[in-house]
Amino acid sequence: MKKYLSRLNFGYERVLLYMLQQTEYDVGEYLRWLRRVKDFRAVVKRQSLVPTRKIKMLFLTLAIFVLLYISAIFWMVIVVNTIWIYAIGFVLIMLLPVVAQYEIVLPLVIGKYLIQKPMEGRILNRAREKFSNHPATKIAVVGSYGKTTAKEILASVLGAGKKIAATPGNINQPLGIAKFVDKLDGDEDILIVEMGEFRVGDITKMCQLVNPDIGFITGVSEAHLATFGSMENIVATLFELREFLGKKPLYLNGDNELLRSRVDKFSILYSHDGLGNHRVKDVEIEPLQTKFTFDGQPITSKLIGRHNIGITAAAMALAKKFGLSKHEIASGIKALTPFEHRMAPTIMNGAVVIDDTYNGNLRGVLAGVELVRELDGFGRKIYVTPGLVEQGDKTAAVHIEIGRALTNVFDSVVLMRNSVTEYILTGLEENGFRGEITIIDNPLDFYENLSSFLAMGDLVLMQNDWTDNYF
């Protein structure tokens, strides 16, 4: 009842449009949110509706629909004019907000199948042709986590001696990749393409588009478990890359035990110990940099955490294969800077704050916790998270595990109050956490005023961040 009543206010239609925009017009995601939401008045918190052309078009369609809907009811009531039809008319009017929430996606669904899909088909065909005609070595990077970081490391290290191009930012879907190939000069030596997976078959489709020569699988975890249904499906989807590559080399992250167990004779395992004959030694984990030696060569990387060593070593080994000199490789590593919101350390009030808010999976969380465990000399170690999203039926188990993992590492845990908070608390309690627990009702207020909570000597790890559609 409260949910229904919360629809009856001015601006309700804006809330629906806002959420469509937030979910990037993913109808399935929007419908899942509709089922979850309890109060439509308490949705818009972080951002606001941006009146794009698409939004204006959806609004116009909705307005026309509402007008027709009400006119039809009035017409029906006037023509039939019985007490029953008044009652039915009243009920239909009261149902309008509920009907509207579904009507609003109709133009998207119709547009998708009549216009978008055929157009996309043409774009992808053209892109496939461009990739197959391009002489560069193509590297595909896939994984539940760590793929953007891997792509950036490969781009920086290989780019120090070769002309390379890599998919920009978080672009890892077919249309984005198609746009990427459109902008190439044509004389690149190496193309690095990140591929993101949401459903079984996604990686095969992108491999057919790009036709890669070398592959990287950076990790397997429960990311997008809700859309995949099972871990087996996730693993199978990532290993579509193996199927496609056949005998071509595939680099697997050996720090991930699941990948380690899937190694075959055409795969190369890389880990924080090195890969093949290349040895990583003398590792020093620091809050603002990582030091190690690679085949005796001293390396200092601004990417923090042990989990970044393996992929850096793999990029160095690959660079050697491509004929890059030691000097070039070193300059490629020197050029690396932390990626925004991915284990990016900053200093605030004398505290080290590691911003890992793009991290949204258990593996990444545990890697962050491990990093903090390894860092010493700090006054307080503080962990900040709202928890993870899209964990399907593993939601409880994943968050209990996070709670447990935090226990002996952090002095203070700050949680954003939401549906998974109690699971993290359970995990903390199970392992006898004795530190301070703070539960925040207004996350935005907390993040904006983070400095008020910090002092010199603090080490803060902030992992994941929920947009409004997940609360």
Partner: protein, 389 residues
């Protein structure tokens, strides 16, 4: 600490009215709210009337001048002190809020000087910061120096006069000063804060004028010798029986005449005189060296002097002890006490490892403990005095 309802007092009939607003909103109200406490802002206008309302906790209200309209339109609040402190906004009983802890963030007279603390004692409500007696001594530079003197804590040689004494017999006052003290001298009104009315006097010629300026601001005048080869430092302290010392801090800005004037202290924002050293920190009062780069022994001597003074005056909650060092003789002199340091000196505590949120929480905890301690002290006992009368 459990979530409490906290009345934050700020503004006041003092030249430091605006400084108090900034201190209260940025360093007290914000962290208290972030901690989940309910904050009742109590704004004391320049005319002395008291107001409350959520808008008064927003810095914009004061920056945009909206405060003038609020003060003109809104009814001042009513306070009940029966069995605790209750705030009745706009005189409407149904909106009455009972206060768990009071948090005075007043600078200068009618607030920092013990008067508000006296009122809060009468209201029987726990409050943050120094108690009434300590505040009275701390905010009276003459009483503070006498306390230092009585406790063998070095303080620059001084003389004190009533304003009336100076006005009646100027020549005699000037003669006494010339005989007893060595130039250069500082002439100060003993109560004013933020260096208002203070003059550094290098020769006898300027003395009378300086005494007039000080007399304009106060009923008494303090004249003290200037410490040469000066290193000025300050030591923030929290707690009462087992105080915690902040970092010994060395402010890096001095105006050309060697005094921290009001503008240098609060308005410069670190722009005057360039940046501080590597460990420089921009706090409420421009750049400072935190911790001060002093030889270890001298650093410890500063901490020791500050702690002795804390004990001698009976400070509690929060305070800041300002010290003067003669860098040639390495003697540490007590200068003055600030029982409500601007912005709580949160920048110093941050370097000490205590966040702004942790600092206000700690102060609330001290307030509750000090209150309990006071409550345990018997103040009444049965007599047969009336029967015998």
């Amino acid at each position: 600490m459990d979530k409490k309802t906290i009345a934050v007092f700020f503004g006041g009939k003092t030249p430091e009215h605006d400084v108090s607003i900034v201190s209260a909103i940025s360093s007290v109200i914000k962290p208290l709210r972030l901690s989940g406490h309910r904050v009742v802002p109590i704004y004391i206008a320049k005319d002395g009337n008291w107001y409350t309302g959520d808008e008064l906790a927003e810095i914009r209200t004061y920056q945009t001048g909206k405060i003038e309209a609020i003060v003109a339109k809104q009814k001042p609040l009513t306070i009940s002190v029966n069995d605790g402190l209750t705030i009745i906004p706009d005189g409407r009983e149904r909106k009455a809020v009972r206060i768990d802890i009071a948090f005075p963030v007043m600078h200068g007279s009618y607030g920092e000087d013990g008067s508000l603390m006296g009122f809060l004692r009468m209201a029987n409500v726990p409050f943050v910061g120094c108690d009434m007696e300590a505040s009275v001594i701390a905010m009276n530079k003459i009483l503070a120096k006498q306390t230092a003197h009585a406790n063998d804590i070095p303080t620059p040689k001084y003389l004190a006069f009533r304003k009336s004494e100076f006005e009646k017999n100027r020549a005699e006052v000037l003669r006494k000063i010339n005989n007893a003290l060595k130039f250069p001298l500082f002439v100060k009104p003993p109560h004013a804060g933020s260096s208002i009315g203070i003059t550094k006097v290098k020769t006898e010629r300027d003395l009378e004028n300086a005494l007039e300026v000080a007399a304009h601001y106060d009923e008494a005048i303090l004249v003290e010798e200037s410490i040469e080869n000066l290193i000025e430092v300050t030591v923030p302290i929290i707690g009462s029986d087992e105080p915690i010392l902040g970092n010994v801090e060395r402010p890096m800005h001095l105006s050309s005449d060697g005094v921290f004037d009001f503008e240098t202290k609060y308005l410069s924002g670190g722009k005057k005189g360039g940046k501080g050293g590597k460990s420089g920190k921009q706090g409420a009062q421009g750049y400072s060296e935190i911790p001060a780069k002093l030889p270890a022994e001298l650093y410890r001597a500063c901490e020791d002097t500050a702690q002795k003074m804390h004990q001698a005056v009976g400070l509690s909650g929060i305070a800041r002890v300002d010290l003067l060092i003669d860098s040639k003789t390495n003697v540490v002199y007590f200068n003055e006490i600030n029982p409500m340091p601007g912005s709580l000196y949160a920048h110093n505590w941050v370097v000490k490892g205590m966040s702004n949120v942790a600092l206000v929480e700690k102060l609330l905890d001290y307030a509750a403990r000090d209150f309990e301690k006071r409550a345990r002290t018997n103040t009444t006992f049965a007599t047969n005095f009336l029967k015998q009368f």
